[in-house]
């Protein structure tokens, strides 16, 4: 499972991590904390083609629903069934057991346009990071 230092991050608080040609996507620890208790996850269906920034997954707390955006373009290849069965896994382990879906990137280089761990840490200190998901 990925280390945060090996992942890339979006301004909408998704993380994306590439391993052997597959990109795993989830929400950052910051995001799970802001979302609060997660009670429902509706992941994208395998086979779906997405562009970067497409809303493709829904994570819901008791109070509200949050769109999760594709960090890069590509095809969804798998969804994490563990989080649909037990959504609280995303709160407990957002970057490991709580991953949301896997993608086959259209262009593997696209990932490098996203923030790395240090850049994301700096981003979290800005007002923009807290403007909502």
């Amino acid at each position: 499972m990925p280390k945060p230092e090996d992942c890339r991050f979006t301004k909408t608080h998704e993380w994306a991590c590439s391993e052997g040609g597959t990109v795993t996507v989830g929400v950052s620890d910051h995001a799970q904390h802001e979302i609060t208790d997660i009670v429902f996850v509706e992941p994208p269906k395998a086979g779906r083609q997405v562009k970067a920034g497409d809303s493709c997954c829904v994570v819901e707390s008791v109070k509200a629903a949050f769109d999760i955006y594709a960090p890069i373009a590509g095809e969804v290849t798998a969804a994490n069934e563990a989080v649909t069965k037990d959504p609280a896994v995303v709160n407990r382990s957002p970057m490991e057991q709580g991953w949301l879906f896997k993608m086959k990137p259209a262009n593997p280089g696209e990932l490098n346009k996203l923030m790395d761990w240090n850049a994301y840490q700096a981003f979290l200190k800005t007002a923009e990071a807290h403007a909502g998901h």
Partner: protein
């Protein structure tokens, strides 16, 4: 001049920050939506005891030789039924059979009643009541700013308060009320709540509210007491089938339509809007508030459409994930008053039709309250 938009703070604002409350703007009040988490707090109230800051709610004294006559005129329920030390849930009707607010009235002495009304409607309620009071020998006093209010709710709530206020635990059941000394100040305690659990609500002078909170926290520590935010207040009340004024009932809906016909006592004499209520009772309603439970995974929200027999029959006025039941629930007006519990319906959630079922409310009731009713 610009209108004041600054959110108001209750006497417990600093206390909430101290306990890690996540403060949000709630109808113009800065209140905690949660401390540790909505699910944990919900569970604490269902299994042990939680403290809620409900100081934003409004309090009105209604006193005078014609206080009872006045309350009979302005309420759907029969206020003459409550003797000294008793409380009653009621609706304030308007001339058209709509509801100005829902409230709890306590009888605290001869010609002396205490009203607890909703925060968002307080000013409108007071103006409405003052207008209706013309010609009655009654004094109305809005004392909302003078008081703080703490709800102590859960199966261990009475055990907690009995440690310092045995008279509260000794009250003869739900919907009772008592004036008593709280930390050296004059307070009021009612055996009421909005959670579907046993418990009580303290109404105390504003300056006493924070010390009372700390006292309840320390007395309740061995029982597992925790602060509980507005987030779980909403999930708890929805499971318990309680209405939220402004969402589930309002000026446009009657008590009968809200499935709260039991608060309308047509045999008590005249009251505002009585003709409308009597007609509705005789003719039946065209739409009715139903409880609906999802049969598949999903989180319904207020506004989601409810379909019956393939046709949109209405929409949820309140809906949530129900932590105790681990399922999505909601309530809303359906133009199918003939529907019975168990009727299959569906809820449209983000374009998807999710199978659901009409349920008799409450969705959940604690064994303590069930036994109290039996």
């Amino acid at each position: 001049m610009t209108s004041a938009t600054t959110a108001r703070r209750t006497p417990l604002y600093e206390t909430h920050k101290k306990y890690g409350g996540r403060i949000v703007d709630f109808h113009g009040w800065e209140l905690p939506v949660q401390y540790e988490g909505i699910l944990k707090e919900h569970q604490t109230v269902r299994s042990a005891v939680g403290l809620f800051d409900v100081s934003h709610m409004g309090q009105i004294w209604c006193r005078g030789p014609q206080a009872l006559e006045f309350l009979q005129k302005t309420n759907t329920n029969d206020i003459a039924r409550i003797g000294l030390g008793q409380a009653i849930y009621s609706h304030l009707p308007n001339e058209n059979g709509g509801i100005v607010d829902d409230l709890i009235i306590s009888n605290l002495g001869k010609d002396k009643y205490f009203l607890v009304v909703n925060a968002a409607t307080l000013e409108n309620d007071f103006a409405w009541l003052a207008k209706q009071a013309k010609g009655f020998q009654v004094e109305l006093k809005n004392v909302s700013d003078d008081y703080g209010m703490i709800a102590v709710q859960g199966p261990k709530a009475l055990e907690l308060v009995s440690k310092e206020w045995p008279a509260v635990a000794a009250l003869p059941g739900r919907f009772t009320a008592l004036e008593l000394d709280v930390l050296g100040a004059p307070g009021i305690v009612t055996r009421t709540g909005y959670t579907g659990e046993e418990g009580c609500e303290f109404i105390v002078p504003a300056a006493i509210t924070a010390p009372l909170w700390e006292r309840l926290m320390s007395l309740g520590a061995p029982l597992g007491v925790k602060p509980a935010g507005l987030g779980c207040r909403d999930t708890l009340r929805l499971e318990a089938g309680y209405l939220l004024y402004g969402s589930d009932v309002d000026m446009e809906h009657s008590s009968y339509e809200a499935s709260y016909g039991w608060v309308v006592k047509l045999d008590k004499g005249d009251f505002i809007g009585k003709a409308h209520f009597a007609r509705q009772k005789a003719e039946g309603v065209k739409r009715k508030l139903f409880g609906v439970k999802l049969l598949e995974r999903g989180v319904p929200r207020a506004g989601d459409a409810v379909f019956a027999d393939g046709r949109k029959a209405g929409a949820f006025t309140s809906a949530t994930f129900a932590p105790t039941l681990n399922v999505g629930i909601g309530m809303g007006y359906l133009d199918r008053p003939d529907l019975k519990p168990g009727a299959k319906v569906s809820v449209e959630i983000r374009g998807r039709q999710v199978p659901a079922e009409v349920m008799r409310m409450p969705f959940y009731i604690s064994k303590e309250l069930k036994n109290a009713k039996a």
